[in-house]
Symmetry: C2
Subunit: 284 residues, 2 copies
């Protein structure tokens, strides 16, 4: 008995006739007919009640279909498990405290590790460290190096927060601004910004923070309203600097250095990415 026969049996049950099943399976009637005869011989049971030109499943046949379904379901689960495994093998899970390092790391991976896909996750500092230790992620991006013998850490990139406002805004002409200057303004903020959200809440206690979940809607609002927002001057965001002023924020808390961290026993692929990112970080 082989799985192919069970798949065929299932098809016959589904299609009603051997011919139709043969068509569905992209094989020929005689082939399928023979195969079913073999299955019958193997099980020692007629599975079809046959008139000269009709083969209909009998009781034993229905029993066989039922069991075949179970066997094939297990086979499917096996395949799914391996698909999952394959997926796991080409994804690198990154726990990061901010989105910008994910983008940077993503571009490195796309350029130099085709086939590998990042699975980024925004978390707190403690959670990032925790996930790395627990193998819940392969790489962590934190604001402080993780001081453990089992973990390797390198400085990866810095991020500087800028204030963006319509040209007519009272602070638009300033060379720099401070959080104190900005406190009280209304800000549009994308939800997925990691630890920056805490920074906003802490240093702009009197501001109204409008949180937007949807990235597309967020971009729409930026372009179509007069609301202030934050940016880090990544090239992609340079869309309409003509209509907007972009002013650096002076406070130390508006500047972050990120560290890329991996376990010492990381698999080859992770090591390679870590290595590449280290060089990229050194270049920048």
């Amino acid at each position: 008995m082989e799985l192919e026969q069970l798949r065929q049996l299932e098809a016959v049950a589904r299609c009603g006739t051997i011919s139709a099943a043969a068509k569905a399976l992209r094989t020929t009637q005689p082939s399928l007919s023979r195969s079913m005869k073999k299955l019958e011989a193997d099980l020692g049971q007629e599975l079809f009640s046959r008139t000269r030109n009709r083969a209909v499943l009998n009781d034993a046949g229905r029993l066989a279909v039922e069991h075949a379904g179970r066997v094939l379901a297990e086979e499917r689960r096996m395949r799914e498990a391996f698909d999952e495994l394959a997926k796991r093998q080409r994804t690198v899970r990154v726990a990061s405290v901010a989105p910008a390092p994910n983008w940077r790391l993503g571009s490195i991976v796309v350029e130099r590790f085709s086939g590998v896909v990042l699975e980024p996750d925004l978390v707190g500092d403690a959670e990032a460290e925790h996930q790395l230790a627990n193998r819940a992620c392969d790489l962590a991006i934190t604001r402080r190096p993780i001081q453990l013998p089992t973990v390797a850490c390198v400085p990866f990139m810095t991020e500087d927060l800028y204030f963006s406002a319509p040209n007519g805004h009272r602070l638009a002409k300033r060379g720099t601004v401070s959080f104190d200057d900005l406190n009280g303004e209304t800000f549009l903020v994308f939800e997925q910004i990691g630890f920056w959200m805490e920074v906003c809440r802490r240093f702009l206690p009197d501001s109204q923070i409008i949180v937007q979940k949807d990235r597309m809607v967020f971009m729409q609002l930026i372009n179509s309203t007069e609301l202030c927002y934050f940016t880090t001057l990544v090239p992609e965001n340079d869309a309409d600097h003509t209509a907007r002023a972009v002013v650096p924020i002076a406070d130390a808390e508006a500047h972050a250095t990120f560290f890329l961290c991996k376990r010492a026993d990381a698999p080859d692929r992770t090591n390679a990415i870590f290595q590449a990112a280290t060089q990229q970080g050194a270049d920048a």
Copy 2:
């Protein structure tokens, strides 16, 4: 992916090496090696970590073995279901009120229906009728014909009870005896005698009935003790008539006529046996 590969994988896991598994499966190393490579290709995963002359299951391999076990377990269940079905198809279940008709029917089946096996069950009259109606048995043997339009009944055989005692027994020389004569005697009785047990209890209320479950022990006791017992003079029991007297019992209740009953819609095999038994019954 085919079941054969999963069986092979399981064997490799069990035997530790491909060579050993090949031996166990009565095939050759190269064949098994190729087969495993195919499975790996099919699953898109290396299942073994290979040095030049050693192939050890890796994590993916162990995952595969685990799932293979599940798939093969389902296959086994399917085979078991069909073995069970096959067994059901060559067994005829008989619900009988006494053992003697079972023996007679058994000899008919053995002679003329090789391959068919009887599955006899000793029950009461009501239970026999009930089982026949419920399809819990294929044939019923009762003391009265079942008067139902859905059931066919024919007289099958008669059984006459005899009294057996050591030659020195006070009743050994009698031409006939009655239950009244026997009442008070101690009897050895085999447990599986159907309705005859009720007859004993009813007509020999003062006798001590020693019930023996085990057939072999029962025969031993008959041959080695002076205990009285009952017999129906079937040829097999003629062992030592020299040492024992066998006296017919006169009472009407010591004579039974059995009827063989089948459902009107019985399958061919049951009909054939019913037919054969009817002729045999007519002959006797």
